[in-house]
């Protein structure tokens, strides 16, 4: 199961970044996101997977598709970067990947010896609003303000210029 999902992720992400048609890239992105939430399901993170599907796959990808439709022709072929740019970026990317993989495989990960806890919605909810030592109320509030600011910002930036009479 894992191998299937991970294979999907990899193949579709490669196709996202190399596809010539923008809409197809968006769709491949959708598949990647769905596969990611599949992995979350596999790990028993049900709430997170649900959130991922809702927000990412349902919200962001839709937003992206709308903006594609707003700003370009559907059958327009995207221009790809020149050889020099592709080669240099590929080089940098491969170098970085090698470096990271080497680090990962050399490091010995130490598992904590504590008792596992459940991941059901009730526990998550309780932790979300508690402000004790294990509570996440503050980040919760900050994120809500951030979303407010982002919403206002997006409206301000994207509205049409008001004509002064």
């Amino acid at each position: 199961m894992f191998y299937l999902l991970s294979g999907m992720i990899l193949i579709f992400s490669v196709m996202t970044v190399t596809s010539r048609r923008i809409l197809r890239s968006a769709v491949y992105l959708l598949f990647v996101l769905v596969a990611t939430s599949g992995i979350y399901f596999m790990m028993n993170y049900n709430f997170l997977a649900a959130v991922q599907l809702t927000v990412y796959a349902g919200g962001i990808v839709v937003l992206i598709i709308f903006s594609i439709l707003l700003t370009s022709h559907i059958s327009e072929r995207a221009k790809m970067a020149g050889i020099k740019q592709s080669l240099l970026s590929a080089l940098a990317v491969v170098a970085g990947a090698m470096l990271t993989l080497i680090v990962i495989f050399r490091y010995s990960f130490v598992r904590s010896s504590q008792q596992a806890i459940a991941y059901d919605v009730k526990t998550i909810g309780r932790h979300l609003v508690s402000y004790g030592s294990d509570g996440y109320a503050l980040p919760f509030e900050v994120v809500s303000i951030l979303l407010l600011a982002a919403m206002i910002g997006a409206i301000v930036v994207a509205r049409k210029e008001s004509k002064i009479k």
Binding site: A92, V93, A95, L99
Partner: protein, 639 residues
């Protein structure tokens, strides 16, 4: 012992007047500036006569010799313990004699210029420069130290430059003053090298020490040699080269005829009486070293002098510009003086040549200044320099005529005028040393008489030219100096020079050697006779002779093409073969290096400009690469 420190005033007064007139002169009325300049020299002249009287007649002799007195001394540069450059005043027979000559001639020129330069633009500037020149020349002769003499030597060159180029709007004057300065400067290079070698060998700059017969210069003879001559000889030959430049000896003479572009009083002062004898003075100053330690140098001096006097006399026979005839005559007479020094020995009767040279210097200053000032009066009356525009002037300019005639007789060596006595001594000295030199000089004496009287007859006799307006006699300010100098020319011959100025400052007896005197007078009369024949009355005898010796005549008329040779050497050889490659090197290698540095900086900056390209993905690329490199560094290379 007399206190001679007042002699400091003699050069100092003209210096102060130079600064005053130079800075504030244009605010004064011209006549006021002229009077101030003349007064300064007048005081200087009176002080010089007083000094001469005191020195020659009241100073006690030391061992029979007149002492060399240091009237003033101040330490200027203390280089090492032994090598010190002082500034001071040295009183010595030749320097006191030169004091008298310089101040007298300068005073006469100052008075004369009041009349001659009247109405000229830049009158005050002229007097300022005259004062500067007087200061420099006085400093030169009174120098106690060879370096001080060099400083004043250069100053004299500068004053000459300024005065020759006085009419700076005339291109020929500008070219002439440049030529004078460059040629003399080039000769001064030799002088400087000579000074350096001499001071290196002897360890001192001071004249008294250098010329001391028991001092380091002379007893150091047995030393290093170079190509057969000792180092002292080489240094003295180099010093003589410097002197030859200033004194217009062949081949460094090319500047003197062109220097006639300056106003006539300048020619009288500088190029007849004072500056051009600076070279002779230099050799005389260092004479003990020449005579006792560097005798081959004296041979060089003698032969250069003899050749120059012959060369100049031949050219003077063909020139038509009266000032140029006088310039070549000066060259010739200075050749006499150099020759006299060259054939001289040291001490007693051996030093006859030295005494004769100094005597001739004295009398020459008087009569040559007289000749030039007279020429100035003629030019002032006729408004032209050329003999072809003159003739029959004896009716119109009586005083000028008489004084000019006296001067011509003097230079021709007719007794009892002073020229006879001084020239005769030179001929005797030459006769005793080397017969060839004697015969050259003997022939030149005849030529001198010939060309001077050619000049005289062409100007004052001959067919009368139609003048635009009647020439009139000069004003009193111009004729009084003429009369004074004429009197000096007549009576100076009777001064007993051998008691006053000799090679070792001791007295010796001279008497007229009739075996030399009578032939010299005879050849003078022969020269005058030929000139009378050719030029007194209008005839074409001279033209027929000239066409008979056509080649020689043309060559002499063109000054033996020396100027063309110089131009060829400088333009073709020096400019093309040396200057051009050096200039090319400078432009293409040195400048190219600097340009290359700038160019490379430019290239680097153009390339680095790309970092701010405004392209988002470029920025991201460098960001990611930088992050990867940093991680690499910190994970692997830092322990």
């Amino acid at each position: 012992m007399m206190n001679y420190s007042y002699t400091l005033l003699i050069p100092l007064l003209p210096l102060i007047i130079f600064f005053f007139l130079g800075l504030a002169g244009h605010k004064l009325k011209p006549m006021a500036a002229g009077i101030i300049g003349t007064l300064g020299l007048g005081v200087g002249a009176i002080l010089s006569y007083y000094t001469a009287f005191l020195y020659f007649f009241t100073t006690a002799r030391v061992g029979g010799a007149l002492p060399a007195i240091e009237a003033f001394k101040v330490v200027w540069l203390h280089l090492t313990d032994k090598l010190v450059i002082n500034l001071g005043i040295l009183l010595d027979p030749i320097s006191v004699m030169m004091l008298v000559v310089i101040t007298t001639v300068s005073l006469m020129v100052h008075i004369y210029s009041l009349g001659y330069m009247k109405g000229e633009k830049g009158f005050q500037r002229f007097y300022a420069f005259l004062s500067l020149f007087s200061f420099s020349m006085l400093g030169l002769v009174l120098a106690s130290n060879i370096f001080q003499m060099y400083i004043c030597w250069e100053l004299v060159g500068v004053s000459s430059f300024l005065l020759i180029g006085f009419y700076y709007e005339k291109p020929s004057a500008v070219a002439a003053c440049k030529k004078a300065f460059i040629v003399t400067r080039f000769a001064d290079l030799g002088f400087l090298i000579g000074i350096l070698i001499l001071s290196f060998i002897t360890g001192t700059f001071d004249f008294v020490t250098l010329t001391n017969p028991t001092g380091p210069a002379i007893t150091h003879v047995g030393g290093i040699t170079f190509m057969g001559l000792s180092v002292i000889t080489w240094s003295l030959i180099l010093v003589f080269i410097g002197g030859a430049g200033k004194s217009a000896m062949f081949p460094l003479h090319i500047w003197l005829p062109d220097a006639m572009e300056g106003p006539t009083p300048v020619s009288a002062l500088i190029h007849a009486a004072t500056m051009v004898v600076a070279g002779v003075y230099l050799v005389a100053r260092l004479f003990p070293i020449y005579a006792l330690a560097a005798v081959p140098g004296l041979e060089v001096v003698a032969w250069v002098g003899a050749f120059t006097s012959l060369f100049a006399a031949v050219i003077a026979c063909t020139q038509t510009d009266i000032k140029r005839v006088l310039a070549y005559s000066t060259m010739s007479q200075i050749g006499y003086m150099m020759l006299a020094l060259g054939v001289s020995g040291y001490g007693g009767h051996e030093g006859l040549g030295f005494m004769a040279s100094m005597f001739h210097l004295f009398t020459h200053a008087m009569f040559k200044a007289l000749l030039f000032l007279g020429a100035g009066a003629i030019i002032h009356a006729v408004h032209s320099n050329y003999m072809t525009d003159m003739g029959g002037l004896r009716k119109y300019l009586p005083i000028t005529h008489i004084t000019f005639l006296i001067a011509c007789l003097t230079i021709a060596g007719i007794p009892p005028f002073s020229g006879f006595f001084s020239k005769d001594e030179i001929l005797v000295a030459a006769f005793e040393h080397n017969k060839i030199l004697f015969f050259i000089e003997y022939f030149v004496a005849g030529l001198t008489a010939f060309y001077m009287f050619r000049l005289y007859f062409n100007v004052f006799w001959g067919k009368e030219t139609q003048y635009h307006h009647t020439p009139h006699e000069s004003p009193a300010t111009m004729t009084i100096p003429l009369m004074f100098l004429a009197a000096a020319s007549i009576f100076a011959g009777f001064i007993p020079f051998s008691e006053l100025v000799t090679s070792d400052s001791k007295v010796f007896e001279t008497h007229t050697e009739w075996i030399v005197a009578i032939p010299s007078v005879l050849i003078g009369i022969v020269g005058i006779g030929i000139a009378t024949l050719l030029y007194r009355k209008e005839n074409n005898l001279s033209d027929r002779i000239a066409s008979g010796i056509k080649g020689l005549y043309t060559a002499a008329y063109h000054k033996f093409y020396m100027d063309e040779v110089y131009l060829f050497v400088t333009k073709r050889i020096i400019f093309n073969c040396i200057s051009k490659p050096v200039a090319w090197f400078d432009r293409h290698v040195v400048d190219a290096t600097m340009n290359g540095v700038a160019w490379s900086v430019n290239v680097v900056s153009e390339k680095s400009k790309g970092f701010q390209s405004g392209q988002l993905q470029d920025y991201a690329y460098w960001f990611i690469s930088g992050a990867i490199v940093l991680v690499l560094l910190f994970v692997y290379l830092v322990h």
